[in-house]
Subunit: 543 residues, 2 copies
């Protein structure tokens, strides 16, 4: 039996466009003698449409598209992810389903049983859990269908402890092929975890497992693809490419040797950011980006990502020096743009800055405090960047990293501005790793940018260390406290930090919640990003 | 039997402060010969702590506080809302519970059965549904305890269709008193709906019902209090005050005449906004606000709310005229501040504006487009307001209304800035009603401000109508499409609007999602506000 897992890049709410991609894959399947075609979770709407799922007209349209797809399934067994009304009078009106077609007929549905409702997932907001694990017979095979989370209860320490385990139900039913439709977002540890999970399930059921993942970014979520085929011994036989559309063609009849799992985490991170940025622009019909280039490492890395995502001709860098900017920073930015072949404009903000200072000194009866002056400069830069963006139809990229966002070390309406936070989930230490990766073949980011001590250059001789702990410590705390959710005592011991220091640091992270709430959406690349997946009250007294 | 429903204003995460309020209420109960004391939902942590609920140390602290409360319950039957670990190996690790104490003993728990997971509620993210409806015997009464949503399945068209109905289970168990612990947020239609719901339940069970609601605001949610007592015939006997802490003292033995339900919707709206603004400041330890005063109706109404919430001495108005501001607008703002007795500073932004225009004209090779110029002015204002705020330790109030937010008729990093969006869920038509309410006794907001045609005054002779449909039509569409979620065809017919016009308008609402995502939190006063309760993808093609 030949199986195609069609790893496609769907756009939320573009039901016609998504259907066209699905139909094209069915054509490719027919041309290649494929028997079974598998698509990803909620393929027709893209994952996840969120509250658009409450629209009756969207559901009706999804049903119509499904019927178009049905009519093109002659000679095939086809499994497509779609939301559908469940018609039962229970808590939620929808199922997150897989429609199963064969030979132009709808055979039925498998409804997702385990509904993730944690982190960035809200599925209990929309869906009722499926109640059954049907088995489908086709060409002598007993096929079990699972949707994303359905397969995770069994395999690894789960984020939610479900009562049911669809995998064990399917084991009882003696299936000999498991299909999994997923919209499993990228995060740095997930590629290997997924493989381990699927290997365990395949071995337990002595059944091959084929996983079809969505690829492409929707808002903060980046779906990495990496669809795969694990044989009945739990060996990895094939893996689709990451971060691009790909057809994973599997022939169950051919004996295939296991392939070696390999990953380059920093390369994957870079690819994820590029895909995230590209889809943010292209899926909205935007072409060109603008960003401020300070001569620092964060904006330099974002410039590289933007060039890779959009093309050099579609990126405009703007250097906006003030009296506190070093000449070195400016010349570093110039060199970066030469290396990247992107346009650089230089606009000195000092006369406007002075104009504000003069005006405000009469308002506050004296000169502005250093902090007020420091916040004023990024706000002037944002006003200029946004004016150019408005004028030329560009979208401003935000360059704040996760370490800064944790501490609120950024200015609201200043350097926190932008449509998309490219590095918002990338800790400073990983920004350095990205720079090294970018420079591996040749020096794109000038070495001076990488070597210099980080500074916002908003007052004389400023460095980040004046305000922040070392990034080594800060990033360790972010990793432990935010990403791994370890208890404070455990972090203190693990990292040999004093309890008062750590408590104070964590308190500062909580205090910055009000800033983060007004941040642009940021690409999610860890298991816990700030933003949608981390619901924190602003007004609260817990520390 | 005497019952106290202690309607208190809790702060999220302030477990010690909340416990002190609970203990003080127990003292008042003892002094007044009360038998039963009822607190609101999640009283110990405040509602809703969101992802703070994942903190083990918060849960441990809550258990400790509960034990402190237990030790003060001699001679009483006490019901307190608290999150607790459920110890069952199911989907979620917590229950949303009511702890029941009597005479210094923990009698047990009632766990919330129906968990709202829609709109602003995420309870399935944290909690497992309770499985039982225990009945508690005390002083010859059979007491049934319900937590907020538990009582709504029975009563009115619910937002979720639950299988279970705790009310019917309690009916079978023949209770003769129903207690309800709630954290039921204010919205304009909810006061009457709640009463109708509770009356229906009380009649069905032939049992008196006492409802204890949280009061006070946490982030965007405003809890209005209005705790109440309905007798076994479903007659409203007593209702606590709205928008303030209040002890609802009920004597079941005394025959009491029904009271008349009355409401003044616009007065309640005003009170809600005042409470929302005050708690945002005071619960965070802030005292003083700053806001830009354009001489328009939105900022005028916000100034009135701010004065009421914080005191005249704690509000600084700043007029920031440009070349496009009319003299009338400035003199209107002056008069408003005289009436309110709040300080007004005037800062002309024109020289800075010209400075930007000169600088940018060389960058864009010519003069800036009108749109770019229009966006630049509010950004200059924000930089100035934030500099003053930084300098003087003030918090900037945002004055955008819901109609503007729907259309994205506001400038990011400009007039969209601020810590709290006071009017973000108030449609323009309601802003006018608020102004009329404020002026009812004497003219506070100058009549000229109310009478003039709305204009952003960002170019010559601009009016809102240049860009927006009439507010009458826009507000009707917001009411139908956003708040009531009616299908487009139904709205077109109901409002006699052409389908293309309406579709285009709704498309514009969707397109502005990216702006709203960077808006400050806004006080929620309708059944559907933008923000947390409306999850919409930014990158999407559904219209």
């Amino acid at each position: 039996m030949k199986i195609l897992a069609a790893q496609l890049n769907f756009t939320i709410g573009d039901l016609e466009g998504n259907t066209q991609k699905i139909l094209a894959a069915l054509q490719r399947a027919k041309r290649n003698g494929v028997d079974v075609v598998l698509f990803s979770e909620l393929a027709i709407t893209g994952y996840c449409p969120e509250d658009l799922l409450f629209s009756s007209s969207l559901l009706e349209k999804a049903a119509k598209q499904l019927d178009v797809i049905r009519s093109e399934t002659q000679g095939l067994f086809v499994v497509v992810g779609v939301p559908r009304k469940n018609g039962i009078h229970q808590e939620k009106p929808l199922y997150n389903s897989a429609a199963v077609f064969s030979n132009g007929q709808l055979l039925g549905y498998k409804d997702k049983t385990l509904l993730p409702t944690y982190d960035v997932f809200d599925e209990r907001r929309f869906f009722e859990p499926g109640k059954e694990e049907p088995v489908w017979e086709f060409l002598g095979h007993r096929i079990g269908i699972t949707i994303c989370e359905d397969i995770w209860r069994y395999s690894l320490a789960p984020s939610a402890f479900y009562e049911e385990d669809p995998v064990l139900v399917l084991k009882d039913k003696k299936v000999d092929l498991i299909l999994n439709l997923s919209a499993s977002p990228y995060c740095s540890s997930h590629k290997q975890n997924r493989l381990l999970a699927f290997q365990k399930v395949a071995k337990e059921l002595s059944s091959p497992l084929i996983f079809c993942n969505q690829v492409g970014a929707n808002d903060q979520l980046i779906f990495d693809g990496h669809s795969l085929y694990v044989n009945e011994k739990g060996e990895l036989i094939q893996m689709a490419k990451g971060f691009v559309e790909d057809d994973l063609m599997v022939d169950l009849n051919t004996h295939a040797c296991p392939c070696i799992f390999s990953e380059n985490k920093i390369k994957d991170l870079y690819s994820a950011l590029v895909l995230g940025a590209r889809d943010y622009f292209h899926k909205q019909g935007f072409k060109k980006a603008i960003l401020g280039l300070s001569g620092g490492i964060d904006s330099s890395v974002v410039a590289c990502v933007a060039k890779e995502a959009l093309g050099a001709e579609n990126v405009l860098g703007v250097a906006l020096p003030s009296r506190y900017s070093s000449k070195q920073s400016l010349s570093d930015a110039v060199l970066l743009c030469e290396n990247l072949k992107i346009e650089l404009q230089e606009i000195c903000i000092d006369s406007i800055f002075q104009n504000y200072l003069d005006l405000l000194s009469s308002v506050v009866n004296g000169s502005l405090s250093s902090l007020s002056q420091e916040n004023l400069q990024p706000r002037i830069r944002t006003a200029i960047l946004m004016a150019i963006a408005n004028e030329k139809g560009l979208i401003l990229l935000n360059t704040s990293n996760k370490s800064e966002m944790a501490m609120g070390y950024a200015t609201l309406y200043g350097d926190m501005a932008g449509g998309l936070g490219v590095l918002q989930d990338v800790k400073k230490s990983h920004v350095y790793q990205l720079a090294a990766f970018i420079n591996a073949r040749q020096e794109v980011i000038p070495k001076a940018i990488i070597d210099k001590e980080p500074s916002a250059e908003l007052r004389e001789n400023q460095t980040d260390l004046d305000t922040l702990p070392s990034y080594e410590i800060l990033d360790a705390v972010i990793e432990d406290y935010i990403e791994a959710a370890l208890p404070v005592e455990e972090i203190a011991e693990k990292r040999a930090l004093s309890a008062p220091f750590l408590t104070d640091l964590i308190h500062k992270i909580h205090l910055a919640e009000y800033k983060r709430r007004q941040a642009p959406i940021g690409l999610r690349v860890t298991q816990k990003a700030f933003g949608k997946g981390r619901l924190m009250p602003i007004v609260q007294k817990w520390k």
